[in-house]
Symmetry: C2
Subunit: 384 residues, 2 copies
């Protein structure tokens, strides 16, 4: 096991009708800016619940944070925060809203050009207090200190990490997910599955417990996904899927282990270039990356075939790895996700050429062994 340090100050408040607890969690006297996205929280009654819980508090709203939240939009919120003196941000919605809010929190207290936080890894020494009512099981942003932000003007999608942007608390009421469009439910499941694999399917540094826990999330996703798709109002299945999503990226499964994240980095480019949803890009790239990098991923994929898919442990490792790749594709297909670029009308060779060019320009090398060069990325995308 590798050495590690870990500390997550976020308080998780999980369960039915928990939004009303908001008023006990936000310190008295705070001037709150409620941030949200496209307005689905108006339709499903979540915003109403939030406002009822905040009766007596001073608050205002900032809506319109996009999926793949845009730097340009967020900077408008930063201006409002600074001009009007807000000192508490409450994100209500999915991971994009929360990621965007983390950036607003950091940028509002940043001296200099906040873009440097993303482009130059400028340290975040201070941030506004923030918390969330999270309504989409997917990114795990509710219990981590990372955020992914896009910039329209340069078609870039970049991320930052800082302990300063851990949410103070996250309220998870699985009932808020009953009304999710099926597409978003599926994207969230694929996102969680891939988060887990980015942390699990790497080289082995002797972390059997972390491996068990990673595969435990995968087994649970495979069991519970058909239930929520069959009955979107199945509370327990929704709760289990949500807890899988939170635990898929709260770092618990990767402490002391080795991480990859190449699938995400390549996926981000497909989103930037073709506007595919994040979850759509992952279902395409993950299996292709595994085929190209099979030698590096073999041990963990073989272990997964035995533990998750019940394969015979005496089969050759290479065959076991193939089983995991096929079974993963089958799972993505079964829950309604396409697994090839051509199914979206995208020319794979063209995409591969463009993404290789971008990574060459930025001198990006990916993967847990830093051996996914732009040439390897080309191969992965061309075969996707």
């Amino acid at each position: 096991m590798n050495d590690f340090e870990f500390q997550c100050p976020t308080k998780i408040i999980f369960g039915k009708d928990t939004i009303k607890k908001l008023r006990y969690e936000i310190p008295q006297g705070r001037k709150i800016l409620i941030t949200y996205g496209g307005g689905s929280i108006r339709k499903n009654g979540v915003l109403k619940q939030v406002k009822e819980a905040l009766e007596g508090f001073e608050y205002s709203e900032f809506g319109g944070i996009e999926p793949n939240p845009k730097f340009e939009t967020l900077m408008k919120a930063v201006e409002i925060v600074k001009n009007e003196g807000y000192n508490f941000l409450l994100a209500v919605g999915g991971g994009s809203t929360l990621d965007g809010t983390k950036f607003i929190a950091a940028a509002s207290r940043f001296e200099g050009d906040p873009w440097d936080i993303l482009a130059k890894d400028a340290p975040v020494n201070d941030a506004l207090e923030l918390a969330d009512v999270i309504t989409l099981p997917a990114t795990g942003s509710e219990m981590n200190c990372g955020a992914v932000i896009s910039r329209l003007s340069t078609k870039e999608k970049l991320s930052f990490l800082s302990p300063k942007v851990y949410p103070k608390f996250s309220i998870i009421d699985p009932q808020t997910t009953f009304s999710l469009p099926e597409k978003q439910t599926v994207n969230g499941i694929v996102d969680t599955y891939t988060h887990v694999m980015e942390q699990y399917a790497t080289y082995d540094v002797n972390t059997p417990l972390q491996d068990e826990w990673a595969l435990g999330i995968i087994k649970t996703l495979i069991e519970e996904a058909p239930k929520v798709l069959r009955n979107p109002n199945d509370y327990d299945a929704r709760a289990n899927i949500f807890w899988c999503a939170t635990c898929g990226l709260n770092y618990w499964i990767s402490l002391g282990a080795v991480q990859d994240w190449a699938t995400h980095m390549i996926g981000h480019e497909l989103t930037a270039l073709y506007g595919l949803d994040h979850g759509e890009t992952l279902a395409i790239i993950l299996p292709s990356l595994w085929r190209v990098m099979k030698k590096d991923k073999m041990d963990k994929l073989a272990k997964m075939a035995i533990e998750v898919f019940g394969a015979n442990e005496f089969l050759p490792k290479s065959l076991l790895a193939d089983i995991t790749i096929k079974k993963t594709e089958k799972f993505f297909n079964k829950i309604g996700r396409k697994i090839k670029l051509r199914e979206y009308g995208i020319d794979a060779l063209e995409a591969a050429t463009e993404i290789k060019k971008r990574f060459l320009e930025r001198a990006v090398v990916l993967g847990e062994r830093c051996n996914i060069t732009p040439d390897v990325v080309y191969e992965i995308v061309a075969n996707a």
Copy 2:
């Protein structure tokens, strides 16, 4: 899944040669009281490492905290803390030292008789800052907010929980466990196994991920235990066992699930009456409790037989539960732990009579369904 709230502020610093990081974690200007137990930390060099790391800080020592830390001893430390104005406690040693230190932290700031914290669940509104260098994988105390304290004068062993006594940080260097006597290594493994079972082997409220994680700890313990017993200096095996112990009682596996803790409560009485080690009592009580409460425990024990012990899923549930009970006894035996009271020369009927009497006096009813009455306790102990 049941509703839950969770927040653990403790920072975990895990890995080789991490004790030297102490000096960066304790705020400047603190007056530190180092607390420890019987002095093994002198022999194995841990205390020396701690003192080197604290060069330049003002500190003093308080040794002699017993296994099953005694109220009487801890109150001496409380007096010293108050008289000499210490404002930071650093526990160095195992779970008993840390539990004792949590009590010192709470009692030093408590108005009234600190025994009420244990005997009357008096709320802990304030506590001294505390942290630890934990050197025994067993109690999980390094990442939770509980402590178990004994009182000599009344032969009682009681516990308290308070978010105020979460360690500020816990340093885990698995190398410090190389020199553990085999008996303590085994006790720690049995303790961890039982902690997990107290949280897993209850009635099902649809928590598949938590179940997977609980059983993941058990699988890892079964795999890694023989390795540390064969080679006490196997770093990875020691690290894996330690992380299992921490995760066995940091609440991650029981969030939203149902807990029991009857085995511990009965075991505490055996320690109080006969001086058996905590781990020794658990190995005796757990299988006997499962036999007596088999109907209540059946579903989870059957699931465990399939997932951990590879039993055929088409066997009758009752038989599957028996497999888990037998396999658990076999595991305890294999790592050198006795599983019957008579092996310690203790008359089971006599013990059962005495413990039943104590629980009747205190009107104690145990178990996740509150159906382990003093009569049932009699049966469990009599058959142990």
